[in-house]
């Protein structure tokens, strides 16, 4: 089942005009502040009635302005996780979780309550009031509440933006589990490249109310022409698998035959992981460098070099592990005589792969 | 000069007319304030700036006299009136007791312990042996005109008011007149207020006792004193 969205809505100076499809898995809506992300999600949720549009979830039409169809929010059965949780302050955590259940249609099969509570680790909180929860706990409960309403899709508008790093790290894994264990489309708004890398199966990039790019996460994030977040967001996603945990605290991964070392993760051996390697953390070398502290050295071939107005250049290097992006200075690119087809090495520090950039 | 008169509510229509005559004749200005005699007496007792008070019974005038609030020498009975049982317009005249017994509806009266019309009414019913019959059905109002309104609007089927009230309100008909001896004589005593006995007030008091004004009152159904 996929979510198909096509909208037109004048918004102040901006005209929102988007069309995209969100397949099962996580579709991240990505873009600068003010680009229209929240507006799109609210339109999908039915909290806002766009001037024209067609929104359908599989066969189920939520809006079709041509045919005069518009379902109100409470009949759409979409689980919305808001940036600010919006838990009901007068209800306990447990009552919050069960809130949507009574409105679910008889036939609906919500996730079993026990499973959701276990998955989100909120068992110990059930009797508390939302006022007594930390920000991270609050968002987990909000997620649980949405799930237990037996939704046909999940909408999440920057659910982690209000949280500090520690809290973010606490919640991201729950969204991962959701993506992997629940087979409904998730539309997720974010402007964190790390979140995109960890969660997204599909990325839709918005700019000034328009979709400027739409595709798989690997494609979109490694496309240097997509700079809604500035050059610093560029990075490549590698798929890998845990093959060993070493005694000195490092975890070894296999990525398409190449070996990577990073600080120990808690994932058991065999777990498939997605790594985001930020382009600015990668050093390029023509010869295989020796005697460096960096442990990961991937041989490869230059696929493409793009440079803009600034001092930087973005080099894509095809390696066994996949395409790696490196942001270096134009001066270095010249000094190393890099050009398409040239052989080189991508040098990556183990410790430069940040914990929040490692996901399943 | 200006004369401020506090007068019983039942005098409203007639006194308005008589006062206008006085103004035309003398050039003085008359300011009239109407309410239940009880309210007015209390306010005068607490210093209200009335020059002349016309009560609807002797008791309230007595209570002012006891407090030294009136000029005793000026006190005189101005008018008399009769008490009637009324019903909605169109009601045929009939027997008082039968009318009261034959209808189980409310009987509208002014406050039976405070407002003159109510006090007279209660006395008359008691005298006629009807009080015990009527008492549970009495609806009391803060003045006699409010009781009249209850009958006029059809809220209460019966009411006890002055004959003059019944005459002024086309929406009600008189069913029966209370015998004069069933209640203490209805008197409207008037007196000047101590410390405020101006020439104009004295003139007005005299004017009201005089034939011209008495004629006006008669036209509104009031009876001369001593009748």
């Amino acid at each position: 089942m996929k979510l198909a969205v096509a909208l037109h809505q004048p918004l102040g100076a901006l005209a929102l005009d988007v069309a995209f499809t969100a397949p099962p898995g996580v579709t991240v809506l990505f873009g600068r502040s003010g680009s229209g992300k929240t507006t799109v999600v609210n339109a999908v949720a039915g909290l806002l009635k766009p001037a024209r549009g067609r929104i359908a979830l599989g066969e189920h039409v939520l809006q079709d302005s041509d045919r005069g169809i518009w379902l109100p929010a409470h009949r759409r059965r979409l689980g919305y996780v808001f940036q600010d949780a919006r838990l009901f302050p007068h209800l306990s955590v447990h009552q919050n979780l069960l809130y949507g259940r009574r409105f679910a249609p008889r036939g609906a099969q919500p996730e079993p309550e026990a499973r959701v509570i276990e998955m989100l680790g909120i068992g110990p909180l059930l009797d508390r009031r939302p006022g007594a929860l930390s920000g991270g706990e609050r968002q987990r409960v909000a997620l649980g509440r949405a799930l237990l309403s037996a939704p046909r899709a999940i909408l999440a508008d920057e659910p982690l933006a209000a949280l500090d790093e520690a809290r973010k790290a606490e919640i991201l894994p729950y969204f991962e589990r959701l993506r992997d264990e629940v087979a409904i489309p998730i539309l997720y708004v974010s402007h964190s490249a790390a979140e995109v890398a960890r969660l997204a199966t599909t990325v839709v990039v918005l700019q000034d109310g328009r979709v400027i790019r739409q595709g798989t996460t690997e494609d979109v994030l490694s496309d240097p022409s997509v700079t809604p977040l500035g050059a610093r967001a560029a990075g490549a996603i590698l798929s890998a698998r845990v093959i060993a945990h070493h005694h000195d605290g490092l975890t070894e991964l296999d990525a398409g035959g190449a070996r990577l070392l990073l600080p120990r993760t808690l994932h058991p051996i065999g777990t498939p992981l997605r790594l985001r390697i930020a382009a600015q953390e990668v050093i390029v070398s023509r010869a295989r460098p020796e005697g460096l502290s960096a442990l990961n050295i991937l041989p490869g071939t230059v696929e493409q070099i793009r440079s803009g107005d600034g001092p930087g250049a973005l080099v894509s290097i095809r390696t066994k592990a996949g395409t790696v992006l490196a942001r270096i200075t134009r001066r270095s690119a010249a000094a190393l005589a890099l050009s398409e087809g040239v052989d080189c090495h991508a040098v990556i520090k183990s410790v430069a792969i940040a914990p929040e950039d490692i996901g399943r | 000069d200006r004369v401020t008169v506090f007068a019983a509510a039942s005098l409203k229509t007639a006194l308005d007319e008589a006062a206008a005559g006085f103004e035309a004749e003398t050039g003085h200005e008359v300011v009239l304030s109407f309410a239940g005699s009880s309210v007015l007496a209390r306010q005068i007792g607490l210093g209200a700036p009335a020059d002349l008070f016309v009560s609807a019974n002797e008791d309230w005038m007595d209570s002012l006299a006891d407090g030294g609030h009136i000029v005793e020498t000026s006190r005189r009975d101005l008018l008399s009136n009769r008490l009637v049982l009324v019903g909605p317009s169109g009601q045929k005249p009939g027997d008082m007791a039968r009318a009261l017994a034959g209808n189980t509806g409310r009987v509208a009266m002014a406050l039976v312990d405070a407002v003159p019309a109510g006090i007279y009414g209660k006395a008359a019913l008691t005298e006629l042996g009807l009080w015990n019959l009527v008492a549970p059905r009495v609806a009391q109002t803060d003045n006699v005109r409010a009781a009249l309104a209850l009958v006029a609007t059809g809220t209460a089927p019966l009411g006890i008011v002055y004959a003059t009230d019944a005459l002024a309100e086309p929406q009600v008909s008189v069913i029966a007149i209370f015998p004069d001896d069933s209640h203490p004589p209805i008197r409207y005593p008037a007196a000047l207020i101590s410390g405020r006995d101006t020439e104009a007030a004295r003139d007005l008091l005299n004017y009201l006792s005089d034939t011209e004004a008495q004629g006006v009152f008669a036209r509104h159904g009031f009876l001369p004193v001593g009748d």
């Binding site: 689980g79 919305y80 009901f88 409105f103 309403s149 | 609007t153």
Partner: protein, 230 residues
């Protein structure tokens, strides 16, 4: 305080009954009106607002008179109600109606303010979870405005305990049936020497209303704390 006579006790009991019923019955309507004024945009909103405030603006005697004309035995609504067995004129029910009408604007104002303070984003959240407008109101808005609701109700109750002008005009002053505390006080004040009895009743009615007021602040504070978390 000296002991009250049986007639005075009757007035106290009646006042409590009248005020309680007036409050309980007008509360749902007040909530509805407050909700409409706070949240809905519709033509005639200003008119509704004015209408709700009328009893605050009009002299109570006039309000009573209007009630008499409309709900009296000869009035259009009064006749209709009578035909289904509801008698308002000269009845304690009429006193309750008068008290309810007079207290209504106060209730609506208090409740409206508390509705305006409810975060509409919580209501949106409830809608996305499947709750229809009605359910959103019952399960989210209503519990959240509880403090304001209680405050409004008790304010209305206090007002009802003191209502006089409309009551005596509409239902007169019948001991045991429509003689509320204020009517009894008024009657006492009219009789020479009635001041002591009147003062007794005044003190009692003030004590009752202040008690209610204190109660309302306590309940409101407690409800606010409950909603606020912990």
């Amino acid at each position: 305080m000296a002991v009250l006579g049986p007639e005075e006790w009757q007035a106290v009991a009646l006042s409590l009954k009248v005020s309680t019923w007036a409050t309980v019955l007008s509360l749902p309507l007040a909530v509805l009106a407050a909700h409409a004024l706070a949240r809905w945009r519709f033509p005639g909103r200003a008119l509704l607002n004015g209408l709700v405030h009328l009893p605050l603006i009009m002299p109570p005697v006039v309000t009573g008179y209007v009630l008499l004309i409309v709900f009296g035995p000869a009035g259009p609504l009064g006749r209709a109600l009578q035909s289904i067995g509801v008698v308002l004129a000269f009845n304690w029910t009429g006193a309750a109606l008068a008290a309810a009408v007079m207290g209504f604007p106060l209730m609506v104002r208090a409740i409206r303010l508390s509705i305006e303070a409810v975060d509409p984003r919580l209501e949106q959240a409830a809608a996305t979870l499947g709750a229809s407008r009605m359910w959103v109101f019952l399960t989210v808005t209503l519990p959240l405005i509880l403090p304001g609701l209680v405050a409004g109700a008790i304010l209305g109750f206090a007002k009802a305990m003191g209502e006089f002008g409309a009551t005596i005009t509409f239902v007169s002053n019948i001991p045991g049936q429509t003689q509320t505390i204020p009517s009894a006080i008024y009657a006492f004040l009219q009789v020479p020497g009635g001041e002591t009895a009147a003062a007794r009743l005044v003190a009692l009615s003030i004590a009752l209303a202040l008690g209610a007021l204190l109660l309302s602040e306590t309940v409101a504070r407690r409800a606010a704390r409950r909603v606020g978390g912990q």
